[in-house]
Structure formats: C-alpha cells, structure tokens
C-alpha cells in the first residue's frame, strides 16, 4: 500500500469533511461518477471525513450540491500544493537555485594544491613547476590535464622516480616518489656490535673480522672492519684506491634484564564523610579565624585553597580568604596476595623486555629472581637470553691515507 500512498501524494489529495443527512447517497453518487474516495470514516451520524484526489474536487462540488451535502476542505496534502506554496515564495526558490549554481560553479575550480611524498625535494619547487604547467589554485578543473602535469614534473626533476596528480573535488594532490640514491659519502663501513654480547657465530661477507666465536663484545665495538685497498701498478706508484665496506652476520647471545618493584602491603584510604572547614579572613594586617583551629579528627587529609582580592593598587593591602578543609579518613593496610602481585610483575617485566627485543631475536632462556626487602617491597628481576644478529653497519669517516712503502 505504501506505493499507492506515494502515488496519491504525488497527485495531491484533500481531506474533506462532509456534512449532511444523505451521506450514503453522496458516497454512492461519487462512486457512480468514478471518483475515488478512501479512508472514509464517520465522525457522527451527520458527518464523515474522507480523502479524495485533487483533480476530482470540481466534480465533488457538483455532487455535494446535488445530494444536499456541505463539504469543507480540512487539509491539502501532496506535491501540487507544495509546488503552489513554493511558487508563492519566489525568494526562497531563487535562493535555492542560486545556491545550487554557486556550489556547482565554485566546485569546478581548483582551490588547494598540495604535494605528498617529498623528503629531499622542496614541495615549493614542485608547486611552482605545477603552476607553470597550469596547475595552481584558482584555475578551472577542466583546464588541467593531470597526466600531462605529472609527466612534466617527472621530466624536470631528475631525482623523482614517479609522479601522479590526483584531483579530489576541489583539492589537487601531487604525489611523488623520490629516487633512492646510493650512499656516496666518503669513508668506509664497519660492522659494530649492537649490544653487549657473547659471539657464537660469525659469517663475514666482506671485510676483516676482528673478533672470533666465543669472544665477549661490548656495545659499539667493531666486529668486522672495512678495508681500504691500494693497488699499485708496475712503477710502484699507487694509483687506485678501493674501499671494501664490511658486511656480515654476527650471531651472539644477548642478556637483557628488567626489574619490577611492587609493594605487598597496600594502603587503603577511606573517607568517613565527616568534614570540617577552617576559614581565615585576612583584611589588611588583621586576621579572623572561623572554624576549628586544629583539625578535629584523629586521622585526616587536608587541602587548602586561597582566594585574594587586591584592595586598590596603591595600598598593597588585600582581602584574603584561606579555606582549609579537613576530611576524616580511616587508613587500613591490606596485605595483597603475593602470587597475584608476582604474576602481575612478571607479566609487566616480560612485556617491557619483549618491547626491547629486536626483530628476529630468538629467546633461549628466561630466568627470574625474586627478592623481598623491608617495608614489604618485592623486587622481581627477569633476565632473558636470546640469540640474535648483533651486526650493525656504521659508516666511519676514515682518512684514506697512503700506506707506508717500506
């Protein structure tokens, strides 16, 4: 029925109240003339309310006269009436049209241009270049060719590997990817230890190993040294220099520890709800105290608030009010379940340690040491042993010197 309702809404209908003695005759006559009525309900024995289509209104008027009934339109429903009402409010309609047109016109311009993906290149340079190719805030969206702009940006920046121009509404995003250039800085790469560790396995890919398996190394120690090789020609004149950067894998055992402290006795403070306040008024050099001078409770917590109003800039005096609030409390020490605290501490320690593990580390062993000290404090120290690659490449500025020829 919803579809039929929608249809009648589009055609427009009226709710009419009909009064008269011969209402049945009215309905029957309307029926005979092919006029659709619906939702007919009797109000009392002299009147009824019904709905009829807007286009049937003239014939309904005739039938009312013929059957000696009087009718009144109670409500007008539907699109035709809506249109008529809107037609009367021309300003509103004009405003709505103006708004739509303005929205359409304004949205056909480029308002913002931004650049993403730049690291070394200056975004301003990219924007300037885009502007030279017709892409800048204020131009018509239709006038720009994203593909062409992207191609010309790519052509003019040698260190860009890829560029694309995306038009999203009134925003244009220039997305670029920079080329990854090989590191050409001078010096030689050494492999150093990332952690204090015990070397278990060393695989040298290039360079000269300085440690061997079973050695203990400290953090930052050079494990594999890079080399600078001189090659000489027949004259004995050194001509070319070759830098060998160190590379390798150094597997080692690393121990990491973490301590967690926790209390076995928890203090629980409960407020009893009894409160006392002491107010101190200070006017000039005089002080008045309202309320108890000393806290009236055996155990309490206090907090103090001060308010001051300066009394004229010249006098230096002020009206001050200090309010001290004492709240009575009951303190109670509660012994916490030791196993629970220990389990929590263990969990925290493990999480802290795991956060420090590098990727690829394999855990070999996990140990813990629990100590109780005075004052109900428990200290849990967890040690985990892993095997991992501790090799880290580090570029060392090294003077490339001529080797001694002796």
């Amino acid at each position: 029925m919803a579809l039929a309702d929608l249809w009648s809404y589009f055609k427009g209908y009226v709710i009419i109240a009909v009064k008269g003695r011969t209402l049945e005759k009215f309905v029957n006559t309307a029926l005979a003339r092919g006029i659709d009525l619906w939702d007919i309900s009797r109000v009392d024995d002299r009147s009824l309310v019904a709905r009829a289509y807007l286009h049937d209104l003239p014939s309904l008027g005739r039938i009312l006269r013929e059957t000696d009934c009087r009718g009144r339109i109670e409500e007008k429903v539907g699109v035709p009436f809506l249109v008529r009402r809107l037609a009367r409010r021309k300003g509103l309609v004009a405003g709505a049209i103006l708004f739509s047109v303005a929205l359409y016109v304004l949205s056909s311009f480029v308002w913002f241009v931004d650049v993403s993906g730049v690291e070394r290149t200056k975004p301003e340079a990219v924007l300037e270049l885009a502007a030279r190719h017709g892409l800048r805030p204020g131009v018509l969206k239709r006038s720009i060719d994203p593909g062409k702009v992207a191609r010309s940006i790519l052509a003019e920046f040698p260190d860009l590997a890829w560029a694309a121009v995306h038009v999203r509404g009134t925003m244009v995003n220039i997305e670029v990817v920079e080329k990854t250039l090989p590191d050409m800085s001078p010096g030689v790469v050494d492999v150093v230890a990332a952690e204090n560790a015990l070397v278990t396995n060393i695989i040298v890919l290039s360079g000269e190993p300085l440690v061997s398996e079973g050695d203990t190394v400290t953090k930052g120690q050079v494990l594999i040294a890079g080399l600078i090789l001189w090659s000489q020609d027949q004259d004995g004149e050194s001509k070319t220099v070759e830098v060998v950067n160190a590379r390798g894998i150094v597997l080692a055992r690393v121990w990491r520890t973490h301590s967690e402290k926790c209390r076995l006795v928890k203090e629980i403070v409960t407020e009893t709800g009894r409160v006392a306040r002491t107010r101190r008024f200070a006017v000039g050099g005089l002080t008045f105290v309202v309320g108890p001078k000393a806290p009236p409770f055996a155990d309490y917590e206090e907090d103090e608030r001060s308010y001051a109003v300066p009394l004229g800039g010249w006098s230096g005096y002020s009206i001050g009010l200090d309010v001290t609030t004492y709240r009575e409390v009951i303190r109670r020490a509660e012994v916490v379940d030791r196993d629970e605290v220990l389990a929590e501490a263990r969990e925290r320690a493990r999480r802290a340690l795991e956060a420090r593990l590098p990727r690829g580390a394999r855990v070999l062993d996990e140990r813990e040491d629990v100590r109780y000290s005075q004052g109900g404090v428990l200290t849990l120290t967890m040690t985990i042993e892993t095997t991992e690659d501790i090799a880290r490449e580090r570029r060392q500025e090294r003077e490339i010197e001529r080797p001694d020829r002796s």
């Binding site: 005979a32 007919i40 009797r42």
Partner: protein
C-alpha cells in the same frame, strides 16, 4: 439483480457448476473476503446503503451484506470494490 433468480439465472448457475468456473465471474455475484476480524472486502458491490461507525450495509446482486462492529471505516471504495476496516463482530447476508 433480480433477473438472475429467473430461469436463465438457474441455467447459468448449472453451467458454472458444469465448467467449474468461479461463480462470481459468470454470475456477477459478490465476492466477500474477510481478513481476520479487521477487514472485509466486497467485490462486485452495488453501493452503500448505510454507513455508521457501528454498522455498514452494502448492496449487492444477492441482497445486502451487513457488517456490524466497532470503529468501522471505509478504507477504500471504487466502482468494483469496497474495503471496510475496523473491529468486525458480525456479518449478515440477506435479501
């Protein structure tokens, strides 16, 4: 109409039985559909005789269909069909 009660009417009825055709198709008989106790539809009616909130009488070729109930209203009325909504208590078919 009254004419259906004559000899031709009886012949038509026999024919409808013979060919198993629904009677309302051939004989212009009203078709009355009752949905629970909330809606009554009369097809092939011949107009309303009486309409109040408590009682609706509809004329058909086979006499009147009288519906009694509470809060009765005519949900839809066209030349061929009338739908009566409301709480229906009693239906009477008669001459």
């Amino acid at each position: 109409m009254g004419g259906k009660d004559g000899i031709t009417g009886r012949v038509e009825e026999k024919l409808a039985d013979l060919f198993e055709i629904p009677k309302n198709v051939l004989l212009d008989m009203p078709r009355i559909v009752l949905v629970g106790n909330v809606q009554l539809t009369v097809e092939n009616h011949q107009g309303i005789v009486e309409y109040t909130r408590q009682r609706v009488r509809v004329a058909t070729s086979r006499g009147e269909v009288a519906v009694e109930g509470r809060g009765l209203s005519i949900g839809r009325i066209t030349k061929s069909e009338i739908a009566i909504d409301g709480r229906i208590h009693r239906i009477a078919l008669g001459e």
